[in-house]
């Protein structure tokens, strides 16, 4: 139960085997390993924290510049810099175990085998509540793109991860595809417990004065409010295509944004870029969801999910 004037407003949701105290998570790569926000955000209020994508070996990431602001959005080409699995377990898990929130580990690999190994090694680690499989990051030339845009490869990764773990497995989809429902169904059939979407759209920016790309990597991932309409459309399509829970991501910054995704059929949502410019976004969304339920005369957030009215005129 969420604390709001002591009212019994029930924000709990269930993602396959994973129950959350509310549907508001922080998105991978936008909330570090949670400690970065510990002075600004009441971490234990969050439905879950999804940590920065972890690979087997540490990765240095891309050369700078890595970020650039765009109209109501930003491009990033971080290049999946991360401390690597061992570093993560040694340096980050201790803190994460203490935050009294669900911890979902986002994993990425260059090969199916790496995904499988990551899943195995994270299984049984105290404090890890679920895995989110990043098959969609556009920044690394090797692997990333192909897994996320080819349904067969996405299914293969899903299967191998599922074989390697008994943790709930969320597969995170790339929006850079012709038909998101094909991808969603492919990973559902391969055993995914949930899908999350969207990862970033691939974009680019150029500095006319120097005639150089603004990102050293040339292209990068577009995130923020600019992409919300695309994300919402894909979530709505995916939610109608699969029967596993869908987690909505993309430009969510306010309670109204979150509600759009829940109404479209998302069981939970993730706040990404908004953490950067307004670290308390997730908390204010949690408050706003509870307030909305009151005005709608509902007592459970679950009665909002997927209630889009499309009939009539």
């Amino acid at each position: 139960m969420d604390r709001i004037n002591g009212k019994d407003i029930d924000l709990r949701v269930r993602l396959g085997g994973l129950s959350l105290r509310n549907p508001v998570m922080t998105a991978s790569g936008t909330f570090g390993y949670a400690g970065e926000f510990s002075h600004l955000v009441d971490l234990q209020r969050l439905g879950a924290v999804v940590v920065k994508g972890i690979s087997l070996a540490p990765r240095p990431g891309n050369p700078p510049p890595r970020v650039v602001e765009t109209a109501c959005g930003m491009l990033n080409a971080i290049g999946l810099e991360n401390v690597g699995l061992e570093g993560f377990l040694a340096e980050k898990m201790e803190f994460l175990r203490e935050i009294n929130s669900r911890v979902i580990v986002n994993i990425l690999g260059d090969s199916v085998r790496e995904y499988g190994l990551l899943a195995e090694k994270l299984t049984g680690v105290k404090g890890v509540d679920a895995l989110e499989v990043n098959i969609s990051c556009p920044n690394v030339k090797k692997g990333g793109v192909a897994f996320g845009t080819d349904p067969a490869m996405a299914a293969e990764v899903t299967r191998v991860v599922k074989e390697g773990t008994d943790l709930p497995v969320i597969v995170k989809l790339s929006p850079n595809v012709t038909d998101i429902t094909v991808m969603a169904r492919a990973v559902e059939e391969a055993g995914a417990d949930a899908v999350s979407l969207i990862n970033t759209l691939i974009g680019m920016a150029i500095d006319p004065a120097s005639r150089r790309p603004r990102l050293a990597n040339i292209i990068g991932g577009l995130s923020g409010p600019a992409i919300k309409p695309v994300a919402l459309r894909m979530v709505w399509q995916a939610a109608r295509a699969v029967s596993i829970p869908v987690i909505g991501i993309g430009g969510i910054a306010t309670p109204e944004d979150a509600l759009e995704f829940l109404i479209a059929g998302a069981t939970a949502i993730q706040v990404g870029t908004a953490n950067f410019y307004q670290p308390r976004s997730a908390e204010s969304i949690i408050d706003g969801l509870a307030a909305y339920l009151k005005t709608q005369g509902e007592d459970s957030i679950r009665s909002i999910i997927g209630t889009l009215q499309t009939e009539g005129d």
């Binding site: 936008t30 570090g32 002075h39 990431g61 050369p63 700078p64 970020v67 410019y277 308390r280």
Partner: protein
């Protein structure tokens, strides 16, 4: 090192030059925790565009919880910031980053170019507060012209530092680069702290290196969060890896940084 988020009332807005402004914000928590060289991330404008916060060095702090920032209008964010009128509030997160060494021993030379002078004033005043002897320490300040520089140069002077200035148009002090002022002084110094354009800091670093004088530099880079979360603020380090300016910096020993270009 906790950071705070404060809706800071804007108490004062000084127009230093056509495109340079100084804001006084009441941000008591940030002010109380701040160390010289640290910065704040400010939300400029109410809407979603510009989206990201903007980083600014903490320029001055006073005992009543006020914090000044000194900035130049570059693009949309700083233009919006310049338009905020006293009475409104600005959403600030800080203090962020590591800060300059507060070593009291030894003679020090501060070298500031353009808006790089902003954090150096906080450093200069804090060192004095901490009891450092500063009357043999130098402050070298460079800018485009007299207008940009004279107010802040006077303030450094009032602290008791030996202040020298350089301007592009010769309207104040030396007509030329501020780094040219460094040569006669450097041999007597134990440390240089510099903030300003990269090319200027590189010259400082090179000269300091050649003279075997310690040198701290304060780097700028695009930042999405300022909190260590986005990993967007990477710059190359001397070994080919990356430094994250917002958490590991913005202040680095000159030797840590890879100086390109």
């Amino acid at each position: 090192m906790p950071e705070f988020q404060e809706k800071a009332p804007l108490l004062d807005r000084e127009v230093i030059a056509d495109d340079i402004f100084r804001l006084t914000l009441h941000a008591p928590k940030i002010a109380a925790a701040a160390r010289p060289g640290q910065f704040v991330m400010l939300r400029v404008g109410a809407g979603m565009d510009p989206l990201l916060r903007r980083p600014f060095s903490i320029h001055q702090i006073d005992a009543s919880g006020n914090m000044k920032i000194l900035f130049k209008v570059i693009g949309r964010g700083t233009a919006a910031l310049a338009g905020v009128s006293p009475g409104s509030s600005i959403d600030c997160i800080g203090p962020l980053g590591n800060g300059f060494s507060l070593e009291k021993k030894g003679r020090l030379c501060l070298v500031g170019g353009g808006m790089g002078i902003a954090p150096l004033y906080f450093l200069a005043s804090r060192l004095l507060q901490n009891g450092k002897r500063v009357d043999r320490d130098f402050v070298l300040l460079g800018a485009r012209n007299h207008q940009e520089l004279h107010i802040v140069a006077d303030e450094f002077y009032e602290l008791g530092y030996r202040v020298q200035t350089a301007t592009d148009d010769g309207s104040l002090g030396h007509h030329g680069f501020v780094t040219e002022l460094l040569d006669p002084i450097l041999p007597a110094m134990e440390r240089v702290c510099t903030c300003g354009p990269l090319a200027m800091m590189k010259i400082c670093a090179d000269k300091a290196g050649a003279a075997d004088v310690a040198c701290q530099v304060s780097l700028e880079t695009h930042m999405a969060c300022g909190l260590g979360a986005c990993l967007g603020c990477a710059v190359r380090n001397a070994d080919g890896g990356y430094l994250h300016v917002c958490r590991q910096g913005p202040v680095f020993d000159a030797g840590e940084v890879k100086w390109t270009g």
